[in-house]
Amino acid sequence: MADPILELTDVQTHFPIYSGFVRKRLVGTVKAVDGVTLAVERGEVLGLVGESGCGKSTLARTIMQLVPLTGGTVVLNGKNLAANSATEMRETRRGMQMVFQDPYASLNPRMTVFATLAEPLLVHRVCPAAEVPARVARLMETVGLAPRFVQKYPHEFSGGQRQRIAIARALALEPKIIIADEPVSALDVSIQAQILNLLAQLCRSMGLSLIFIAHDLSVVKHISDRVAVMYLGKIVELGTAEDVIDRPRHPYTRALVSAIPTPNPDVERARQRLVLPGDPPSPIDPPAGCAFHPRCPYAQEKCKLAVPPLIADGPNREVACVRLGEI
């Protein structure tokens, strides 16, 4: 961890559940993110995978300060975000931006592309007002859109074009890190690759860091340097993309990897799938010990006793499994 741009230490995001009509009683807590420690280096692409409801999106929103942090710290570029005042916060927040999942919902339908891209420049006084139009045109070219479309409205673009606009908007404030929350899952498969390549190329050419959230390992492998696997609010495996996907260690990662379809039908037919029984447990009432044990084919009694910590397993590799050496 030479030069991290973003450091998360034991980040927790809990949502209290209240019940009762007049007097609200606390009846439980959804532990959407429950103790995530992670560092993202400058220029690194970190893939974050896990099934629906495992807390990936909540983690992204917690980092972006869109939902309040319950515990732990988020340090961006050496600055603890929680220690900031509201004004400093807005200034610091410029360092990170988010690309949302649904390009049909993430752009204000009443604003032209120009208004959408010029607004952050003007609000944060990124450049003199006279230079804003030229700057907007450059942003559009950066993401592969012709500047002559600048006076059009979002509903006049395709999904892929809209996602390009959303990426341009995120780039407007010259962030150091971009958090992309399933940026391609709402797009046609033929468009997905274009957007992925655009993101990868932007990171390389501008030295950006990227947290790329997806539930599809093949997409993640294509773009990421490192991969973190999340299960029920916790990271269960972390390592380089090749290590995690080609040599998965945690039983959950193995199940995920075994679900990647292969294009070759002969290989596909012979493929051994590791199908997990049951559904992910409720984050309101997680199982004791390792949260994965009720679905794990290798589970033993000792798995129910304590929450397994992330243990280093070789260089750049961490796995949270009690039976790491045995299976």
Binding site: L66, M98, R110, A134, Q151, R169, L173
Partner: protein, 323 residues
């Protein structure tokens, strides 16, 4: 802050001629509205009535010119719509009454709109305890019986309203504006009641829009609360607001008619459509025209507003817009 929509984009890459202009959602809604014949007819009828009420009295008798010898005459060449029992020209009185009714409708709706949108948007956006307290206040005001509220207001505000009248008469010398104090009271009373529903509608809309991703994007771009409410949320809920406003105007005019009917609204010799209908209803067995003409004009206005409102609702509906 400079405008977000410059007419041209002067860069080396794009000349103004190459620039492709898009159609805003408003533009599309306007195109849909124009196809709706009933709504267009309603809009034209409203415009015509408004123009007639504004300009008509310049060429006619005034509402108080009376000819007691004439008494009530049926419609004829001299008095197109006849005269009332005091020999006043009914057509002139309908035009003058229309000025009052339309003004009450528009001003009171505007008052309700301003208060309701601001209040509802703040409650919905802030949420939590603030929202709960603000909406309970609305609930309490809903529970107050309207007539009692208005009567109380009229009684307590009688003195200030007479002072305003005296000031208008003696200091500004606007003789024609007498009764203005009473009008302001009427606006205040109706506005104070109608904003409640508006604030509930706006709050609900804000709740649904504020969870959308483009609002989250605005937060993560570090925009301030005021900018998010007024530039990102409200423009996206204007559709329902406009529709509700067009449906509020007739409701307000009915309220004014009701208050005038009770003798709390416009005072004679001035009149409004509500007051004229009340007079006509009392004498309809002998002098049918006193009820039929004011009633038809009032109904025509209400119909037009409702058709226009329905048309706007269809035109502005997000689900109907092309994606």
């Amino acid at each position: 802050m400079p405008s977000l929509s410059p007419k041209v984009l002067p860069t080396a890459d794009v000349t103004p001629a190459q620039l492709e202009h898009g159609h805003s959602p408003w533009h599309d809604a306007w195109a849909r509205l124009r196809k709706n014949k009933l709504a267009v007819a309603g809009g034209i009828a409203l415009l015509a009535l408004t123009l007639l009420c504004i300009c008509g009295p310049w060429f006619s008798q005034t509402y108080q010119d009376q000819n007691l010898d004439l008494g009530a005459t049926p419609p004829g060449a001299a008095h197109w719509l006849g005269t009332d029992t005091l020999g006043r020209d009914l057509f002139a009185r309908i035009l003058y009454g229309g000025r009052i009714s339309l003004m009450v409708g528009l001003v009171a709706t505007f008052v309700a709109l301003t208060i309701g949108v601001t209040y509802g948007a703040i409650a919905g956006f802030l949420g939590g305890k603030t929202d709960r307290v603000m909406m309970r206040i609305v609930d309490i005001m809903y529970a107050l019986p309207f007539t009692i509220f208005v009567i109380l207001l009229m009684v307590f505000m009688k003195e200030p309203s007479e002072k305003l009248d005296a000031w208008l008469r003696n200091t500004v010398h606007l003789e024609g504006m007498q009764g203005a104090g009473n009008m302001v009271l009427l606006f205040a009373a109706i506005g104070a009641v109608e904003w409640l529903t508006m604030s509930r509608i706006v709050r609900g809309q804000v709740l649904s829009v504020k969870k959308m991703e483009f609002i989250e994007a605005a937060h993560s771009l570090g925009y301030g609360r005021r900018r998010i409410i007024f530039r990102h949320i409200i423009p996206n809920i204007l559709g329902p607001i406009i529709v509700y406003a067009t449906l509020t105007v007739p409701a307000v005019m009915l309220l004014e008619a009701f208050l005038s009917f009770l003798g709390l609204g416009v005072q004679p010799p001035m009149s409004s459509w509500g007051a004229l209908i009340k007079d006509g209803a009392e004498k309809m067995e002998e002098f049918w025209w006193l009820l039929v003409f004011p009633g038809s004009v009032f109904s025509l206005t209400l119909f037009s507003l409702n058709f226009l409102g329905d048309g706007l609702r269809d035109a502005l509906d997000v689900r109907a817009s092309k994606d």
